[in-house]
């Protein structure tokens, strides 16, 4: 029973992080219908930047955290500006292939700099913050990740619901032509969605790194696990991404605990194939409102 609870908590935490990572992915898909295969690399980049700032440069942790997020934001902006903007108006297949190329490029670059080994952060949170829940211990990083995640989630919720720029972004996702006719800066919206997605990815990279340690292969692999998550949740639903993430996280944690760890790596993809077969638009994908 204790084992079960531990797995449950691990799974929920992992799933929450998957959901957060997927959120950035969904944002790019919604605004410009690009499947971003370089998402895992954006995640890894955040984790490694944080590592570099904390251990190499020795900057205090809270400042490093904010600095990393800022750099990730700018990085997303730059990627859009220099790689994706020239392709606006080209067939989508080129854009997607481009992200595949970018993924390979960034991953190689990070491997060249940091190598394929496991790195760890210095202990950031004192173990005394852990919560004892009956027989199960919840490590402080889990709680921290949950708190950070929830803060970001609500911030983005408010941003998209109430701020003008957020509404412009949703309008572009909804009907690009009409948005253009009203003078919405569509290119700026694309750039902004890449920037925000990269920021969110960087953040989840840091939290994942705190929990599991950082390794280029693992982190960029999580970028690919985003696909089962978003297919499960519905490609265009941000809330669905979180719930999809939770389901995948739990599934992975339980298979890892009860069956085998190597299977747990594949289970999300098996689920993906079944979801495509049974409920292709995901659990929470928008039902197309069609007025003819």
């Amino acid at each position: 029973m204790d084992f079960f609870l531990q797995l449950l908590i691990n799974g929920l935490c992992l799933g929450f992080l998957y959901g957060l990572s997927a959120m950035g992915f969904v944002m790019i898909f919604k605004s410009s219908s690009v499947l971003n295969f370089a998402h895992g690399e954006l995640i890894a980049l955040g984790a490694f930047l944080f590592l570099a700032l904390v251990t190499w440069a020795g900057i205090p942790i809270p400042i490093s955290f904010l600095l990393t997020l800022a750099v990730c934001f700018c990085f997303g902006f730059i990627v859009e500006r220099f790689f994706l903007r020239p392709l606006i108006g080209e067939p989508l297949i080129f854009v997607i292939m481009l992200t595949v190329g970018l993924a390979s490029m960034f991953k190689g670059l990070m491997l060249l700099i940091w190598g394929g080994n496991l790195h760890t952060y210095p202990d950031i949170l004192p173990a005394s913050l852990a919560i004892q829940l009956g027989p199960v211990t919840i490590p402080p990083v889990y709680i921290a990740s949950l708190v950070i995640g929830l803060i970001f989630l609500s911030l983005f919720g408010l941003f998209f619901k109430y701020s003008s720029q957020g509404i412009y972004m949703r309008s572009v996702a909804d009907n690009q032509r009409a948005a253009l006719s009203l003078g919405v800066h569509v290119k700026r919206v694309f750039a902004l969605s890449w920037a925000i997605a990269s920021l969110v990815a960087g953040m989840s990279g840091i939290v994942l790194g705190i929990i599991n340690g950082i390794n280029v292969h693992n982190l960029s692999g999580i970028g690919l696990k985003v696909f089962p998550v978003v297919i499960l949740g519905g490609l265009d639903s941000i809330g669905g991404a979180i719930i999809g993430g939770l389901i995948i996280g739990l599934l992975e944690s339980f298979t890892g605990g009860y069956i085998s760890t190597s299977l747990s790596e594949v289970v999300p993809f098996i689920v993906l194939v079944f979801i495509l077969l049974i409920k292709p638009y995901g659990l929470f994908g928008l039902v197309e409102i069609e007025r003819v």
């Binding site: 499947l35 080129f94 670059l109 696909f227």
Partner: protein, 356 residues
């Protein structure tokens, strides 16, 4: 209506049949025959065994890349599982040869058919949806196949790998790189002919219609689900045949090479060579294989010079970086790939000295 060579001011077709011919001029026909004769007569005699090995690798990669190009370039669907399908072909051939004792000439096409069937399993869910769901399903396929290859130990011997018997063809044992050269390149010629001719049939035209606009294609009465699945099966068949050839050539296979990086390597070949161009796939295979070898050579030199320690400069990440960079640069600056570069060079030669 035979034309000896291109007219300087361009050729104009008067019949649909002219549009369909493979060679627009007799000159092209003759030069192809001469080229092929040179390839088979001179190359195996001149090249060192190491170069011959590289050329053979190019041949195998070309077959797989043509398969992927049928899917990406002609049908407009991206597959991220081509490396895994290549692996399925290799394993299928190995298992057929070792457990069932199938001869080489049967095992390779059979491996292709098995791979096509496996491919269709992953094609079915994606076919129901419009858009790029096939990409995601093939990504899943890549991971699931990798897992199965490692863990279905009773069949694949897991991480141990399989050793194959020597391939025999018409009673001759194929041992040397030279004998394999003939096998691989004859297969390549057959596969190219099949692909080129496929694109001239109604199936090929349907694929192109789906690529250009799937809704309109459906409106014209093309059942897009069936055709997408067919394209996917054909593409997997090519990957499987290439994998089978590779297995017999290598004589021993393990699960390691068939990972996502291999799939990306094939995508790089298709993009760099030119999407929707059969000859382009071969250019891409040549380019990538030489890039691979060049990088290996370069890193070796740098390590020997002592500029970098071997730990700091490992081959794999550099290769990944360079492949990624090549894909990105080609998409940004020459999205139609080397085939287009070749076309431009050729036409400027033809018009020389009046080219502009």
């Amino acid at each position: 209506m035979r034309k000896l060579k291109f007219h300087p001011s361009g050729n104009f077709n008067e019949y649909y049949a002219q549009e369909l011919t493979i060679f627009e001029t007799d000159f092209g026909r003759v030069s192809l025959i001469v080229g092929l004769m040179a390839l088979f007569a001179i190359v195996p005699l001149v090249l060192s065994p190491y170069m011959l090995y590289i050329v053979n690798m190019i041949g195998i990669a070309s077959i797989a890349a043509i398969g992927l190009n049928i899917l990406i370039g002609y049908t407009g669907q991206i597959s991220l599982g081509h490396g895994a399908f290549f692996g399925v072909g290799a394993y299928a051939a190995a298992i057929l040869a070792t457990s069932l004792g199938m001869p080489f000439i049967v095992a390779v096409p059979a491996a292709g058919v098995i791979t096509a069937l496996v491919g269709m399993i992953f094609g079915i869910p994606s076919g129901r949806l419009k858009g790029l769901y096939l990409t995601i399903a093939t990504l899943a396929g890549q991971f699931i196949i990798e897992y199965v290859l490692v863990h279905w130990e009773s069949l694949t011997k897991g991480t141990m790998g399989i050793n194959l018997p020597a391939a025999t063809l018409f009673g001759l044992e194929l041992f040397s790189d030279r004998s394999f050269f003939f096998v691989i390149f004859i297969s390549l010629v057959i596969m190219v002919l099949m692909a080129v001719n496929l694109m001239r049939t109604k199936y090929g035209r349907a694929f192109i219609a789906i690529r250009d606009n799937d809704r309109a294609a459906e409106g014209m009465g093309i059942p897009i689900f069936r055709y997408k699945l067919l394209a996917f099966a054909i593409s997997s068949f090519y990957a499987g045949c290439a994998g089978g050839l590779w297995a017999f050539y290598m004589r021993s296979i393990t699960t390691e090479p068939f990972n996502l990086n291999l799939s990306i390597e094939y995508i790089a070949m298709v993009i760099i060579g030119g999407m929707g161009n059969i000859a382009g796939s071969i250019f891409g295979a040549v380019f990538i294989t030489f890039l691979n070898e060049g990088l290996r050579w370069g890193t070796d030199i740098l390590i020997n010079l002592g500029t970098f320690s071997s730990a700091a400069l490992t081959m794999a990440p550099l290769r990944e970086f360079v492949f990624g960079l090549a894909i990105v640069l080609f998409i940004l600056f020459e999205p139609r790939g080397l085939a287009e570069v070749w076309r431009i060079v050729r036409s400027s030669f033809r018009l020389w000295p009046f080219s502009y």
